[in-house]
Amino acid sequence: MQFYDQARWKDDEGEAYEPLLSEKKSREEPIEDAPLPDDLTRDSLELPDLSEPELARHYTRLSQMNYGVEQGPFPLGSCTMKYNPKFTEDVAALEAGAVHPDRREETVQGTLAMLAGLQDYLGRIGGMDAVTLQPPAGAAGEYTGLLIARAYHDHNDDDRSEVIIPDTAHGTNFASAALAGFDVVELPSGDDGRVDSEALNAAVGDDTAALMLTNPNTLGLFEREISEIADIVHEAGGLLYYDGANLNALLGRARPGDMGFDIMHYNVHKTFATPHGGGGPGAGPVGVVETLEPFLPDPHVREADGDYELYEPEHSIGKVHGFQGNWLVLVKAYAYIARLGDPGLADASAKAVLNANYLASRIDYEIPFEPFHHEFVASAGDQDAGDAAKRMLDYGVHPPTTKWPEIVAEALMTEPTEIENRETLDQLAAAFEAVAEEADETLAAAPHRTTARRIDQATAARSPRLSWQALDQE
């Protein structure tokens, strides 16, 4: 077993870890002699006032008190925490790519060529006819896809108000459907953890605008009856939407477009290894079949006689981002796909699935649903999954996603990704095993080796203090 004692900068009064910037040095700058009339300016501005060396130390210490993929395994299910290749940062930093979004097309042919190239790659990978790169994350992709569905039905004078979503789906699916103005119909999963075609038959109808599916689903299971599901939805007049969060399971093995999906989003920060940045930015490009191409967001990039241009698709849904999405993320995704190519992409999925299976074979927690692919959902059984996860932190690994999907009691949703070698998987398995054998009190007292010990969540929510100003008021 390997351990990790996380850095812990702290004062000797037992009050805090690294002080806040505002506690280190702050200054109130009066606004005087501004080139504006007094009534248009504020009176003063009070903010931290530190020198560069002080700031370098502050942020270095904060970074030491943070855990990322490069420190150790990060099998956070559904999040695909892969290694982020270093060189992709260098290509994203290329000066030639630092252009303003309002430049005339003629002067940004390189940028447009790269975007068109990425659209093309993603289209091939997903089996989609056209791809927009505008949505800035997966949820924004869902929202975009559902706006496309809405516009398509409206265009056909077909009033459809419902989106069907399995109970195992990610929360964003439901929230995106609501944001796009749809009513949500939750579909109970069958006993095997997949879509139950009888339940689906009962749920679809004249109001069905779309069914949103993740495949493999959040249990890691492939929806074996996907062709039948597609038929049911299409015969009812609905569209089939693919949540691409789990595409890392299928690269080169199956494509949403071939399974009958009409719309999909790609989760670029998952499948295509762009860094998760402590919560973002990501990118959520959306692919569609040919009939939906006229509904894509404005503007869309296309090639015309060797040049690249922006145009507004005929029935465009309009805008889903102020400009063209998260450019820096898109460049990194292009670089990653180009680096891997066909063999690398196919191998990434093969090893992601192999790693999940290998890890699962080495742990004792029950895994109720099989055969899974790139991730599996174990049950902590009598233990509290949240506590078990905290304890895993003490064993030097990041824990899985916990308590979701709810269909597995005390869920530990585990996705090691392809980047882990056998020794690391063994280390992860050892952490699982150690925790599985421990008493509830031990778990509840964890973690010990992390910067902070167990944090009081109830107080954080009951008396919210969301800024240093709020702390000062106490």
């Binding site: 870890y17 200054r27 700058e29 606004i31 248009l40 300016t41 903010l47 931290p48 006032d49 942020y59 270095t60 210490r61 904060l62 970074s63 420190q71 999040c79 290694y83 290329l94 790519g97 630092a98 303003h100 002067t107 390189g110 940028t111 790659y121 800035p136 949820a139 924004a140 869902e142 929360g171 964003t172 439901f174 929230a175 944001l179 299928l250 199956a254 860094p275 940045g277 402590g278 919560g279 973002g280 889903v320 102020g322 400009f323 450019w327 820096l328 891997l340 191998d347 990434a348 192999l354 290998y358 699962a360 074979s361 932190l393 990041h398 980047i419 056998r422 973690p447 992390t450 910067t451």
Partner: protein
């Protein structure tokens, strides 16, 4: 590189390890692990060739090298300020860059503290009680404000009212967000670049849920009647949403002081270089909306040892718990850009921020005055104070001038037939003399 040379360079398995692991799981091949029906198996190729790192870098350098090398005098919602090296060097530390949403706060104190500091900076800049730790960009933050207005208003309102002059992207995104909640977007007229107060009053009735104003506006003008607009909104029990950015807010009237309920805008004016429109959605609002705020919030609490520690909080607002009744669908956000913004703001400090903001006023006024001296150009068109950018009227068609300027390596906005938009900051300042000379040639 120890792994199978034909596979992913980022999967470490040697062929022997692969065999051993397959053995351990009782499979003969990797293919056997895929439970995919024959009918939907993909048996063709993507036809994407594998390249090595050097080739990809060369390819992308060549590809992006097709962009013309222009000095940009462009703004309209995406601005370029000099980003100090510290921001890159430290934000790229892998502990920050390769981490994710802080679902395990005990092991993510560093990022949480940085986001808490970011939120606090926005609280100071806006005077409002709370700020979230990021939305995607200014446009989606504006859309989220519109949906917030639907949730917090005591009576339902079905209209959102915005300036007639508004960046297309912001208006477009707002219309989409609004339409899902059954809201329509109307506009009020402008008077010399700013809001026409009488027009605002005429546009409002009790059916209005939110009034939006910007300062600086899309024309670069500084709005002079924010408090009056705020009062009008309050008269109709409508939210007053103000669009701005952290640099402008370092100098301009504090939003809380003019009655703003919500502040949105692009916070990546600090921390990000020009990135083809990639942004950072700033979102701050009054404390009473706490439980209706979209997006993630970092709060302070204590840990088992009694020390102050940070955690994501009030998560019952969010999609992973509240599903279709969540306050927003956002999950992955722009946290790393927020980290960079905080680093940049901290590098500048209060004096540096105020200096930068003042220079945005001085530079715009200075360049406008110089262009006004050019025959065939009048600048600024609006008799207002400006921030970073302004609009110039040209005798010649603006599009023709813009094209001629491009051949001299300068980029400007064509705002209308005879209107050019010009933006100046410290990054293109060194090119100003050449730019003015070029305009003298072509205007």
């Amino acid at each position: 590189m120890s792994q199978d040379a034909r596979g992913s360079p980022f999967a470490p398995h040697t062929p022997e390890e692969t065999v051993a692991m397959l053995d351990a799981v009782g499979a003969e091949s990797e293919e056997e692990l895929f439970d995919i029906p024959e009918a939907v198996r993909f048996t063709e190729a993507f036809d994407i060739p594998q390249r090595d790192e050097q080739e990809v870098r060369r390819e992308l350098r060549e590809l992006l090298g097709r962009n013309d090398d222009l000095v940009e005098f462009l703004g309209r919602g995406h601005y370029d300020h000099y980003v100090p090296s510290l921001v890159d060097q430290l934000s790229l530390r892998s502990e920050f860059l390769t981490s994710y949403t802080q679902y395990q706060p005990e092991v993510a104190q560093g990022f949480l503290q940085a986001l808490f500091e970011y939120q606090s900076m926005l609280v100071e800049l806006t005077g409002l009680g709370i700020a979230n730790c990021s939305m995607y960009d200014a446009a989606t933050a504006l859309g989220e404000a519109a949906t917030l207005s639907q949730r917090v208003r005591s009576v339902d309102g079905s209209r959102v009212v915005v300036p007639a002059l508004l960046a297309e992207g912001r208006r477009g995104v707002l219309e989409n967000y609004a339409s899902g909640t059954g809201v329509t977007v109307d506009s009020y007229p402008m008077d010399d670049g700013n809001a026409d107060l009488d027009g605002v009053a005429d546009a409002l009735d009790d059916d209005v849920a939110m009034v939006y104003a910007e300062s600086p506006t899309v024309r670069g003008t500084i709005e002079e009647h924010l408090a009056a607009i705020g009062d009008l909104a309050a008269d109709h029990d409508a939210l007053f949403c103000l669009g701005s950015d952290p640099v402008a807010l370092s100098l301009l009237e504090e939003p809380a002081a003019v009655g703003a309920d919500v502040v949105v805008g692009d916070a990546s004016v600090l921390g990000l270089p020009t990135s083809y429109g990639m942004g950072l959605g700033m979102f701050a609002c009054r404390e009473e909306f706490l439980r209706q705020v979209p997006g993630r919030l970092v709060g302070a609490s204590t840990d088992e040892d009694g020390r102050r520690a940070y955690t994501l909080t009030l998560q019952t607002r969010e999609q992973h718990i509240r599903k279709e009744r969540a306050t927003s669908n956002i999950c992955t956000n722009q946290a790393w850009v927020a980290l960079r913004m905080a680093m940049h703001a901290a590098m500048l400090g209060p004096d540096g921020l105020v200096d930068l903001a003042e220079s945005c006023v001085r530079r715009a006024a200075g360049l406008a005055a110089r262009l006004d001296d050019v025959t065939g150009v009048r600048a600024p068109v609006h008799d207002r104070h400006h921030f970073r950018e302004f609009v110039a009227r040209t005798d010649q068609p603006a599009a023709a001038i813009a094209e001629d300027l491009e051949s001299e390596r300068y980029a400007v906005h064509v705002v209308d037939d005879h209107l050019l938009g010009v933006c100046v900051t410290e990054t293109n300042e060194p090119a100003v003399d050449g730019f003015v000379a070029a305009i003298e040639e072509v205007a």
